[in-house]
């Protein structure tokens, strides 16, 4: 149970740090949801550095949590008393029918938790990739002494192709390893809880962010579309890093969209930079996302704000590079050995056909036909209509990093050294989920607010409602 307490403590610390960075006038509801993502990221970065320095033990791990919490509360109190900022005003729903969407969201999330708990009770150690990669690396990270380094050596899992990943980054395994070290026991309940927590927090960040950006009605619809795919729901209990990665993409997108609306709040950009930097600390696929996020932010913040973004982005990016270059050894077995081999594979039409076929097949299988996420999105798009060109602003740019990552993953599969059918079959369902929440933010920002299509409630009706 101490491990779960550690997860809770660092999540709360993350929320205070997020709120302090966001500045006065930004909603607590968003900061609360950012908490576990920020907490996991900051704690795992510190943990890796301390492990590398050879000074990690249970007392040090608890100290990290306490220092994070203290720093977060102190920074939050300072911003609380500072002047400036504006109170965000969420659009108020103008129809009582919104209760239907609220109930649907609550039921959908409850069933998602039920899904995850069922999976956990059947397989407490998670899916194949969980027990052979993420959970295993956490066990090494949690060990006393120098055993942790085995997690970053090619000998782990006897170098078996598809199972030995010495260069995989350490956010998820580091956070779980810390919790286990803090506890003194390696109980499966910690990765099981973290897995479902990341899924719920993804829904929470989407809801809180969309509520700030487009009002509660859009937020509810976005969450319903997010959690409808079977692929997303099944990952909630899988204990892998894909939903964690999707969370950092989502956080960057929400924070940058909030900054576009309120460009004086540079803290939003700093936090966006941190989340972009944490993406490659979560999974290797995070690199194309992070690089594209840097490019897009530099373009959007060309009149000011780039330094704030880089202040958040550079620390996690540097730590990830240090891990990759100074600690991890060996290479990924699925990468093409040379550029020439990669181009040779790119010229093979059959490989393209296999990957396109896999994306098509798994895209169709993302959800049941009657509630396929694309069906729901088409329905919602038809009802809400796109915003007029003048209101579109620069938000469409925010889709580019997630799309860049998806494109890089697609090309990686075309050039894979593994059996292409095995690789696409085991990867594509998870890859489709990674950019999904971030893209939903952009889509809903490009649609009109539902509230704008509803008649303004009369004063008499409002009085009746209040009564």
């Amino acid at each position: 149970m101490l491990g779960l307490l550690f997860v809770l403590l660092t999540s709360v610390a993350g929320a205070f740090l997020a709120k302090a960075a966001m500045g006065r006038g930004q909603a607590w509801s968003v900061a609360r949801m950012l908490g576990p993502g920020i907490g996991a990221g900051v704690a795992s970065l510190a943990f890796f550095l301390l492990r590398w320095a050879g000074v990690a033990n249970a007392a040090v791990v608890w100290s990290i949590a306490v220092v994070m919490l203290t720093a977060g509360v102190v920074a939050w109190r300072r911003t609380k008393t500072a002047a400036g900022g504006r109170e965000a005003v969420a659009a108020k729903p103008r129809s009582e029918w919104i209760w239907v969407a609220r109930v649907a969201v609550v039921l959908s999330l409850a069933l998602l938790v039920g899904d995850a708990m069922t999976a956990y009770s059947a397989s407490p150690d998670g899916e194949w990739d969980a027990f052979s990669i993420w959970d295993l690396r956490a066990r090494f990270m949690a060990a006393e002494g120098d055993s942790w380094i085995a997690a970053a050596r090619p000998g782990v899992n006897a170098g078996l192709a598809g199972a030995s990943h010495p260069g995989y980054p350490l956010l998820l395994s580091g956070w779980i390893g810390m919790a286990w070290m803090a506890d003194g026991e390696m109980e499966s309940v910690v990765p099981g809880t973290v897995s479902v927590l990341f899924a719920l927090i993804a829904a929470g960040v989407l809801f809180a962010g969309m509520r700030e950006l487009r009002g509660e009605w859009s937020a509810l619809l976005a969450v319903l579309v997010l959690v409808s795919p079977e692929a997303f729901r099944s990952q909630a209990g899988a204990q892998c890093a894909d939903i964690a990665l999707s969370l950092y993409l989502l956080m960057w997108t929400v924070l940058t969209a909030m900054w576009l609306r309120d460009r004086d709040q540079r803290g939003l950009l700093a936090l966006a930079g941190l989340t972009a930097g944490l993406a490659p600390w979560t999974k290797n696929e995070g690199w194309p996302f992070a690089l594209a996020a840097v490019a897009v932010t530099c373009w959007l913040a060309r009149r000011g704000g780039i330094l704030a973004f880089l202040a958040g982005f550079v620390p996690p990016a540097v730590v990830t590079i240090l891990f990759k270059t100074m600690v991890a050894t060996g290479s990924e077995g699925v990468y093409p050995p040379t550029i020439a081999v990669a181009f040779e594979r790119f010229s093979d039409f059959d490989r393209w056909a296999a990957v396109i076929g896999a994306y098509g097949r798994h895209g169709i299988e993302m959800g049941v036909a009657y509630a396929h996420p694309l069906v729901l999105l088409v329905l919602i798009g038809w009802a809400l209509k796109p915003v007029v060109k003048a209101e579109r602003g620069e938000v469409a740019w925010l889709a580019l990093p997630a799309l860049a990552m998806a494109a890089a993953e697609f090309l990686m599969l075309v050039a894979t050294s593994a059996d292409i059918r095995w690789h696409t079959g085991t990867s594509v369902p998870r890859l489709l989920i990674q950019p999904w929440p971030a893209l939903l933010v952009v889509v809903f920002c490009l649609l009109r607010r539902p509230e704008d299509s509803l008649p303004v409630m009369s004063m008499a009706a409002q009085r009746r409602k209040r009564a």
Partner: protein
Amino acid sequence: MAKTGETARGAWRVISVTLVVSALAVPAALESYDVSKTLSEQSPDAFGATRTHARMAGAIALLPEEGEVAYLTDVGVETTAGTAAFLTAQNALAPRLLVKANAKPAPLWAVGNYSKPADFEAFGRERGYELVRDTGNGVVVYRRK
């Protein structure tokens, strides 16, 4: 009047689509839950990770807390079943690092993970290890001779 009509149509669209999306999303979530429940009931612990933790408990008590441990088995590690057996054993024994039986230099300790009864002592002896204890369920702890 035209604008009022347009607003009414827009409101009708938003409310009706919200109801439809809500009505579709919940049964889809319920269906997903049912699938998950059925799969879990049909194949609990599909890869045997949890069973392996229980099987390896006796070996964990005998092996040193860290370092390399040779992995002896009667199932080829390159086969699907053998890979699953190896990976679940590695998970259970971490932070000890499992290495293949022919690793050089040979680790001081070895663990045997067998799928069927056999002469475990002879199996270890042929690979330079003497049996320390057969902890049951096909798990054997060895030490280099």
